[in-house]
């Protein structure tokens, strides 16, 4: 199964990844190979088999609505950001394109 250059461009755009023409070529080859590998699964006859979305076999795993101890400090929250301002993360303006 081959993935065209245009499909690679589309996927890159959706993930907001800038690719050079060389990279587009390279990834289209690599991703096609990955799809070929996964494609082997299609040789199995799955007619009449219900799709499985979750392998744990669990259902209705829910928590009571109360505050827990997962919350971390503002300092920790911001500790990996290259740029912050008054407690906010700062990123490039989204309207700049």
């Amino acid at each position: 199964m081959s993935l065209s250059r245009n499909q690679v461009k589309h996927v890159a755009k959706l993930a907001n990844l800038p690719l050079t023409p060389q990279e587009e070529e390279k990834y289209s080859e690599q991703l096609s190979k990955i799809l070929d590998y996964i494609d082997q699964l299609n040789s199995v006859d799955t007619s009449g088999v219900e799709p499985t979305f979750n392998v744990s076999g669990q259902e209705n795993m829910m928590s009571e609505d109360k505050l827990g101890d997962c919350t971390i400090s503002q300092e920790d929250t911001l500790s990996n950001t290259p740029k912050e301002e008054r407690g906010f993360f700062v990123t490039k303006g989204v309207f700049e394109g």
């Binding site: 979750n54 827990g68 929250t77 989204v94």
Partner: protein
């Protein structure tokens, strides 16, 4: 050829749970110091795992039941993938193919029925503030439970939209699932608008999505503008296309945000970190039993007591007021006080229901025999006096400020010691003011 609008609405409502949808951070984010209600789950840090908030699921089911939806026995969450800074995981956990509630309906005051396509559970995104060339991000709102309610394209004018939005807001408050404050963004509206030749059954081949409009008033203005813009374009023989538009309040017009070519491709797939929900009938029945009497059922019951339609709607406005009214009805029945007289008292005198007891107002009505003044001549005299005493409001009203009439109604109420029939007063004032105008 005449054209008619075809409009569908999407309403997002934030639930007022204590904790977030998939982690136990506080969901009470409004006005809080940025990025202080955050944890690895709602920040989308690698390896963090979501855990469903049961109260949010119950609240979504309540909304679905109140809107006559079928509650799905099996329901699944899915990942909606898109890249935007308000979404730290790179996807929003939402529902797509297996929503919690499907296929409901709601009846408007006009008697028209709006079909509900679905009500599903999802999570809110972080809040972005745009500042010059930068965008500031606060993730306190990230992961707050959100319910999305989608209608079929059954609306044909903005009056229906107003009524629908008002009814949903009232419903959320009755159910106690959200404050549904539009100014604060607890409740948000999106509209899909297109127009078609009158009589045509099929849906138009395009639709314009109105999005990111953060005020109800602007949304109504945007829908009105779109109906006009699209009708004119079709009259000129132009072809309209699928696109997303926003509202420019300064120019009072909509503008193109995204065309079909740039449309999102969300690549939904089932969320592998969340086991499926299997709802048994017993739980659904339990939730059904816990629902309060709904506002439209209340006002219908009041109408059957021969209470005027507009008064029946007024006393059912909030669950607290209607509870007060119900108590007063019970007490009034014992003392032979008519339901309409009680409704008049509440509508006209607006008693502070937190301080006054329902029994007290019945005593009041009985003892003082506060008859309502609904004699036209008497009311006209009072109305003229109120206008004379408040010329400013009269001028404002004539200049187009419709709200200015409230001050004049207040004047008549004061002059009549609260005994005037507010509905009639408004009618008479409007008539008098328009007469003076001409």
């Amino acid at each position: 050829m005449t054209y008619e609008p075809v409009i569908g609405l999407e309403v997002h409502v934030e639930l007022s749970t204590k904790s977030k949808m998939f982690c136990r951070c506080s969901a009470d984010y409004f006005g809080k110091e940025p990025n202080t209600h955050t944890c690895p789950v709602c920040l989308g840090l690698p390896g963090a795992l979501p855990y469903i908030n049961e109260q949010a699921i119950d609240d979504c089911i309540k909304i679905g039941l109140a809107l006559n939806c079928t509650i799905s026995e099996k329901s699944l969450f899915e990942r909606k993938n898109y890249f935007y800074p308000d979404l730290p995981k790179g996807y929003q956990i939402s529902q797509y193919r297996w929503p919690l509630c499907v296929g409901g309906k709601i009846t408007l005051d006009s008697g028209e029925i709006i079909r509900i396509n679905r009500a599903h559970q999802e999570e809110d995104t972080g809040k972005l503030t745009h500042k010059g060339k930068d965008t500031l991000i606060d993730f306190n709102r990230s992961g707050v439970p959100l319910v999305e309610i989608v209608t079929e394209p059954d609306f044909t004018d903005v009056e229906q939209i107003r009524d629908y939005a008002k009814k949903l807001q009232q419903l959320f408050r009755y159910l106690g699932v959200s404050n549904a404050d539009m100014e604060r963004g607890d409740m948000r509206l999106e509209a899909n608008v297109s127009v078609r030749p009158e009589g045509q059954k099929e849906l138009p081949s395009y639709r314009v999505e109105l999005k990111n409009i953060n005020s109800f008033r602007f949304m109504v203005a945007a829908v009105e503008y779109e109906i006009k813009r699209q009708t004119e374009a079709l009259e000129k023989g132009e072809k309209l296309s699928q696109e997303t538009r926003g509202w420019d309040e300064d120019k009072r017009q909509t503008y193109l945000q995204r065309s079909k070519e740039e449309a999102h491709d969300y690549r939904y797939f089932p969320e592998p970190d969340l086991p499926e929900l299997i709802l048994d009938q017993k739980k659904i029945e339990q939730i059904k039993k816990s629902l309060p009497e709904l506002p439209w059922d209340k006002s219908n019951r009041y109408k059957e007591l021969n209470i005027r339609v507009e008064d029946a709607v007024r006393v059912a406005e909030s669950i607290e007021l209607s509870q007060f009214f119900d108590d007063a009805l019970k007490h009034g029945k014992k003392h032979g006080v008519k339901p309409q007289d009680i409704a008049n008292y509440i509508v006209n005198k607006k008693p502070d229901i937190e301080k006054v007891l329902p029994t007290q107002i019945i005593e009041d009505i009985k003892d003082k025999k506060v008859g309502v003044i609904d004699n036209n001549e008497q009311l006209e005299v009072l109305a003229k006096q109120a206008i004379e005493e408040n010329k400013k409001s009269a001028e404002d009203f004539k200049a187009g400020k419709e709200n200015a009439i409230q001050a004049l109604i207040g004047g008549v109420m004061r002059l009549s010691s609260g005994k005037a029939d507010a509905g009639k007063v408004k009618e008479i004032l409007t008539k008098l003011l328009l007469e003076i105008k001409n």
